[in-house]
């Protein structure tokens, strides 16, 4: 298949967020009348790539060739005009408007300047029928299921003479029936000549619906296969296959002390169900899984930010009911959020103010702020964690990602926790800082803390964890000891595959075909 017949080709596409490369040198082609799967771990860059094509982000480098011409796609609006549509993981709909208007928002059919409702409802009904979906174009979208809202987004795409449809994890909230229905529609579109990009971590679905598969890893395109000619194991190998960096600190043996955190059958509708795990003093438990598996929600629930419907949490052998982060802190359980910019730090405020935010009451029992004490404590941890700064009064937003993360960690370590839940502790930070954070984690564990580490970086999980818990779609699907864990096994569990072990072992690790 030559470039001449491709509908979309990218040349050397690069994308950087805040100085960190998220996509590097992406060259691929998309052809009319095919379903192209796009797979990779969390953070591999799949969503980012789709958003670039759909005009949500602008690449820092490289070009896009569409229908034989180089194009700029500065906004989703332009993308839509070009015939490129993006179906979001969480559908963007207008809840107060009816289905037909959602489909035609901003582009209502006009009859001499006046909105032609009849034409709109008729056309909406036609589009919905072509998707074989039973939605009344007159009903309001508020309260509709995610599956229905996705259908509406698809209908909106179809209403625009679409040529390329990008679907970002479309099946994560669907029942098997709804998935089958979606696939029927996708095949119909494909047969009409539309090019579809299907981003998913459900590999069985990728193999079912896609003609070709692209594998992204750490922002690079590492493989392209025809689905009929390959096996799941090979895709998994491509997704994770990498030299484990020597910089990752290997943790020196577990110190299985007292059982500090025990979670029993914790459940919350729509988020997770039946979660059971334990963490002992001196242990690091790695919580692995793909985006949407529910790990952050479990962390938030343990920290009191999310209500649970059933289940128990026991700390140091006693059952507790934690209703707020304050209460959690009182029990010595802290959670370091995934989103450090919006949840972890007060960006315009000073470093010292951020660091002391959670221990103000301890530092100042009388209620009066003690600047001296704040400075002392801030300097102590700045040194301990090697935080690079100009002075502790500068705004924390001026620091690099790695140093910001160290500030967040310091903030929580200052509360002298017994149980530490870390959510993506080294995301978006440079190698040097990563190594320092890992070393710190090792030290904390040997001091007797119980650490639950939520991470999407398999090398990190493998290097740091004494035990690994894998979640998928809101449930725990595997628990592995360090000795038994491999990247492939974890990824297989995370994607719900049954591995053929022999296939994995007989192939070399690196492959850049």
């Amino acid at each position: 298949m030559s470039e001449q017949t491709s509908i979309l080709t990218t040349h050397d596409l690069h994308m950087a967020f805040g100085g960190v490369d998220v996509l590097k040198g992406i060259n691929f082609s998309l052809f009319a009348g095919e379903v192209l799967g796009l797979v990779g771990e969390n953070g591999a860059g799949k969503s980012t790539l789709a958003k670039i094509v759909a005009g949500v982000h602008q690449p820092s480098q490289g070009e896009i060739n569409y229908q034989g011409q180089t194009v700029q796609i500065p906004s989703p609006h332009v993308a839509t005009k070009l015939g490129i549509a993006l179906i979001h993981q969480e559908p963007l709909t207008f809840p107060d408007l009816d289905v037909a208007e959602n489909i035609f928002a901003g582009r209502q059919p006009l009859n001499g300047g006046v909105v032609n409702w009849n034409a709109m409802y008729k056309r909406a009904a036609e589009l919905l029928a072509s998707l074989s979906v039973q939605i009344d174009p007159h009903s309001k979208v508020r309260g509709m299921s995610i599956a229905d809202q996705q259908m509406i987004e698809m209908a909106a795409a179809l209403s625009q003479e679409v040529k390329v449809v990008l679907m970002d994890e479309p099946t994560s909230s669907l029942t098997p029936n709804e998935v089958a229905h979606l696939f029927t529609n996708m095949r119909r579109l494909r047969d009409q000549g539309v090019a579809i990009v299907f981003i998913s971590h459900r590999l069985e679905e990728v193999f079912e619906i896609c003609d070709r598969v692209l594998v992204l890893r750490d922002g690079e395109l590492v493989g392209e296969r025809v689905t009929k000619a390959t096996k799941v194991e090979e895709i998994i190998r491509l997704m994770v296959g990498r030299q484990l960096s020597a910089l990752c600190e290997k943790k020196t043996g577990a110190n299985n002390g007292q059982l500090l955190l025990e979670v029993k059958n914790l459940s919350r509708t729509e988020k997770f169900a039946d979660i059971s795990l334990d963490v002992h003093a001196g242990e690091i438990v790695g919580l692995s899984g793909l985006v949407g598996a529910g790990r952050t929600d479990v962390g938030r629930a343990l920290f009191g930010m999310l209500d649970t419907d059933s289940g128990e949490v026991w700390l140091s052998g006693k059952p507790v009911k934690i209703k707020s982060p304050r209460e959690a802190m009182g029990y010595g359980l802290v959670y370091v959020p995934e989103d450090r910019q919006h949840h972890g730090l007060l960006m315009p405020m000073a470093i010292s103010q951020n660091m002391t935010l959670s221990i103000l009451e301890q530092l100042s029992p009388s209620g009066w702020l003690r600047g001296q004490a704040e400075q002392t404590v801030t300097n102590e941890y700045t040194e301990k964690l090697h935080i690079v700064l100009r002075n502790i009064s500068q705004a924390v937003r001026e620091l690099s990602g790695g140093n910001q993360q160290k500030v967040v960690l310091s903030k929580w370590l200052l509360t002298r926790p017994k149980v530490l839940i870390l959510d993506e502790p080294t995301r978006g930070i440079d190698i040097g800082a990563k190594a320092e954070v890992h070393r710190l984690m090792g030290e904390l564990a040997s001091q007797g803390l119980a650490i639950l580490m939520i991470s999407s970086e398999l090398p990190e999980i493998l290097a740091m964890s004494d035990r690994i818990v894998v979640m998928r779609e809101g449930r725990v699907v595997a628990q592995l000891d360090k000795a038994d864990a491999t990247q492939e096994r974890i990824m297989a569990a995370a994607t719900g595959q049954v591995l053929d072990e022999a296939t994995i072992e007989s192939n070399p690790v690196e492959d850049h075909s």
Binding site: L346, P348, L360
Partner: protein, 345 residues
């Protein structure tokens, strides 16, 4: 030929500039985060100049000091409003709170013979409660502050008008009425003014030097991050609104004393002056930034502005036009400053 030093060294540095320039640059760097407050002080000075030019009567010490009693009530409420706006909220109901609690106080004393001292305390408690009610609706029911305080603006004033109708009550003990006339012996300084400054200092200390104050700033900067950091967000919100209510009630007591009369339409529309002063004083309307000092300066600015306009025979209603326009300009300027300081951050 000797080359010009400047050619060799194109970057500005203290070596080629004068020492004064270097010092100026240092001063500039120090002041930059306080740009809005600096502007407020500057405007205050300008206001004096303009006022003096408008009328010879303006720059009269005793006159000016006496005139502060006219805006001390609004000034006190501005202190509370500073907390509210820094925390990321707004309180439109302060003037109505003032009116209702003042009327209750009057009714208790004049119609039910409750001792004046007790009536005052009850009014203060009631104001605090009404404020806490606002806070509770906003924190627990997660209702928008704008809608809630707009509704209580109507409700509280409505309750005042149900209580008193169109009547005035004025049968107050002699020791109570006329607090605005009380001055420090041998000076012209009204005791009210001293009270205001004491309050400003106390509240300033609370806002800038206590744990609670830090929590207020954190809440206004990012409610999510504050919650994740273990800050009791709901409690802070309720306390902030309760404080605003308390200060409104206090202002009400003082106003009744000054006017020697209580009516349902006391302080009608005063929330505008209060919010204008707070925003003009450098507090960011979106929350997370501001200080008491700026509010104090701005309160005097708006107050003296009104006084000056009054002296220049501009009617009270016409002054409205000025204050309204001032609010808009203040916000535009505040927007601009925040963008500037962020670039240099």
């Amino acid at each position: 030929m000797p080359t010009n030093q400047l050619d060799q060294n194109p970057l500005p540095s203290s070596k080629t500039g004068t020492p004064a320039l270097a010092k100026g640059a240092q001063l500039g760097n120090l002041l930059r985060p306080f740009l809005p407050e600096v502007v407020a002080v500057f405007l205050l000075i300008m206001a004096f100049v303009v006022g003096g030019l408008l009328s010879p009567f303006f720059l009269n010490g005793p006159f000016l000091l006496d005139s502060t009693t006219l805006f001390t009530e609004g000034a006190i409420m501005a202190l509370g409003m500073t907390f509210v706006i820094i925390s990321g909220n707004i309180d439109l109901s302060v003037a109505s709170n003032l009116a209702f609690t003042a009327c209750v106080m009057a009714v208790l004393h004049v119609q039910y013979n409750v001792p004046m001292e007790a009536a005052i305390l009850i009014a203060l408690a009631l104001g605090t409660l009404l404020g806490a009610f606002n806070g509770w609706l906003i924190a627990r029911l997660r209702l928008p502050a704008l809608a809630v305080t707009l509704a209580t603006l109507a409700l509280y004033r409505g309750m005042a008008s149900i209580l008193l109708g169109d009547h005035s009550l004025s049968d107050f003990p002699t020791w109570f009425a006329g607090v605005d006339q009380v001055v420090i012996p041998h000076t012209n300084i009204p005791v009210e003014l001293i009270l205001f400054f004491i309050l400003a200092i106390i509240l300033g200390l609370i806002l800038h030097k206590t744990v609670f104050g830090r929590w207020v700033f954190a809440l206004g900067t990012s409610e999510d991050a504050a919650r994740y950091s273990g800050i009791p967000v709901s409690r802070v919100k309720i306390v902030v609104f309760a404080l605003s209510g308390f200060l409104a009630a206090l202002a009400g007591v003082i106003m009744v004393s000054r006017l020697a009369v209580a009516r349902y339409d006391l302080a009608n529309g005063l929330e505008l002056d209060v919010i204008t002063a707070v925003v003009l004083g450098g507090t960011n309307i979106y929350g997370g930034r501001g200080n008491i000092f700026g509010s104090v300066i701005a309160v005097f600015l708006v107050g003296f502005l009104r006084t000056g306009l009054g002296v220049a025979n501009v009617s009270a209603q016409n002054q409205l036009a000025v204050v309204g326009t001032l609010l808009i300009i203040a916000v535009i300027a505040s927007n601009f400053f925040n963008r500037v300081s962020r670039q240099h951050g």
